[in-house]
Amino acid sequence: MKQLTIISGKGGTGKTSITAAFASIVKNTVFADCDVDAADLHLILKPKIKKTMVFKGLKIASINLDKCTDCKQCFKSCKFGAINEDITLNKELCEGCGVCSYICPANAIEMKDRKSGFSYISETRFGPMSHAVLKTAEEASGKLVTVVRNNAKEIAENKNLDLIIIDGPPGIGCPVIASITGVDLVLIITEPTLSGIHDLERIHSVANHFKIPSLVCINKFDINTDNTKRIGEYCKRNDIPIVGKLPYDIIMTEAMVNEKSVIEFSKGSLSNEIIKMWDKIKLRLNA
């Protein structure tokens, strides 16, 4: 079984639209939406949920003020500033470490499970999908990414499918690292803007750091050809194959508005370019 993650560093370069396009090309594949903070792939894939599981993230401190002797040990020991001096809890800041509960001489603090979201196993018109929702202002999105990936692996094993395509989150931190560790290949979607180039270099360094081979797709390559050239030079220097150069086309947005992948929505040149790109990725995946 192979795993491909689509990342970008910078947000809004087209990760989800391109993942959805691949979904309508490939067969025998599980799709995993690992942008659990702001998941959008379901808007195009329209999954029918088959199984819902509660996601328990980090635990959370629960203070029983009846038992509290106001010794302030918890306040002094919390490294996250989650306990105020009046021994009230700042929920958003609690990282669930358990130090307050351990140190409390009056046994007034209990670490409780925290329902931080849900993970889902679903069916779509393109194949099975693993996805999740993180509740508002909850932590542990990296942990939820791992749950989504494990669910996807389980589906792939049970149904004997040979590929998992992962729609990754923006950035380079915890959820991104959780989305790419152990995958066979990453596809970096970039755009020819100075921000896009800066972020491409950072995300490529992360992939390198974890020794994962990268491919690059330049989306909207024609909005600034000088910058596209610069991306080309960077990729050449760093030995990264550019597998696709997609023109700017409003059809990408129109497809999204119609809740379809661009491949389903249009038989035009953009769709052709994406199909050609997928053929190149397939070769790399099976190499």
Binding site: K10, A38, E95, C97
Partner: protein, 278 residues
């Protein structure tokens, strides 16, 4: 007054709004809180004058004292310590520096060491006091970098905060304590869906907010009707324009090229000031 700019979805134009607003106002403190992918200085062009490391502590195990009882590993909520037979392994990237392992160790075998996970930078451009945080490649935790960065906020000044995309911890740390939050969206299904998530976050944090629609006239009208229905003020609309997109691609803030926008951003600031006063 502290104004933060957030979005839920990435690439909707947070940095564009934040940097153009700052350049129209001058005399502001500016914070690029997207420490994973900071881009604001491509537009602000501040000359960086100083830099401070951001360090976090992690446990060091004294092999002579450790008897592999496993209490530290059992306590650690982040799987940052593993005890395998006669070996205690520490994974510094996973450690949240809570201090629990040292507390529970019966043999006093744990001490602390610091390691650098990123840095914060300060510089000036014209009259903008510019700060940004940068997380090192391969590091997981943006929060310590953000905390150090936000320590520099001077509440008595006009402060502009460019938040990262998403809705979880780094966003919450970035926008908390703001007087007002601008949510930037685009009128597409993805933009709309993630806007609703971002609205939940700012409501949860009880921060007054308004919306800017970027690339107006692509997509559909759902964002507008949602705002109308929920009485959310639309503060500004920026049209989908080849000129603006091209300037962006070259790192040129459009207020510098199209003067009309400078006035619009000043008006935006006045509007927000009024809303905050009320």
């Amino acid at each position: 007054m502290i104004i933060s700019i957030a979005s839920g979805k990435g690439g909707t134009g947070k940095t564009t709004i934040a940097s153009n607003l700052a350049l129209s106002l001058r005399n502001v403190q500016f914070f690029d809180c997207d420490v994973e992918e900071p881009n604001s200085n491509i537009f602000i062009k501040a000359k960086i004058q100083n830099s401070e490391d951001v360090s976090v502590s992690y446990p060091i195990i004294d092999k002579k004292k450790c008897d592999y009882c496993g209490k530290c590993s059992e306590f650690c909520a982040y799987n940052a310590i593993a005890v395998i037979q006669s070996k205690t392994l520490v994974f510094p990237e996973l450690c949240h520096s809570c201090g629990g392992c040292k507390l529970v160790c019966p043999n006093d075998a744990i001490s602390w060491e610091n390691r650098v996970i990123g840095h914060i930078e300060h510089g000036t451009a014209d009259k903008i006091d510019f700060y940004q945080g940068i997380l090192n490649v391969g590091e997981m935790q943006a929060i310590p970098v953000l905390n150090k960065l936000k320590n520099k906020v001077d509440k008595n000044k006009n402060v502009i905060i460019d938040a990262p995309p998403g809705t979880s911890c780094p966003v919450i740390t970035s926008v908390s304590n703001s007087d007002f939050c601008i949510l930037v969206t685009e009128p597409t299904p993805f933009g709309f869906h993630d806007l609703k998530l971002a609205v939940d976050v700012v409501k949860h944090l009880k921060i007054p907010f308004g919306i800017i629609i970027n690339r107006d006239n692509i997509g559909d009208k759902k964002v507008e009707s949602y705002c109308k229905k929920n009485k959310i003020p639309i503060l500004m609309k920026i049209p989908h324009s080849g000129e603006i997109a091209h300037l962006y691609s070259k790192g040129i803030p459009f207020v510098n090229e199209i003067k009309k926008w400078q006035e619009d951003f000043l008006k935006l600031f006045e509007k927000i000031s009024e809303m905050v006063k009320q």
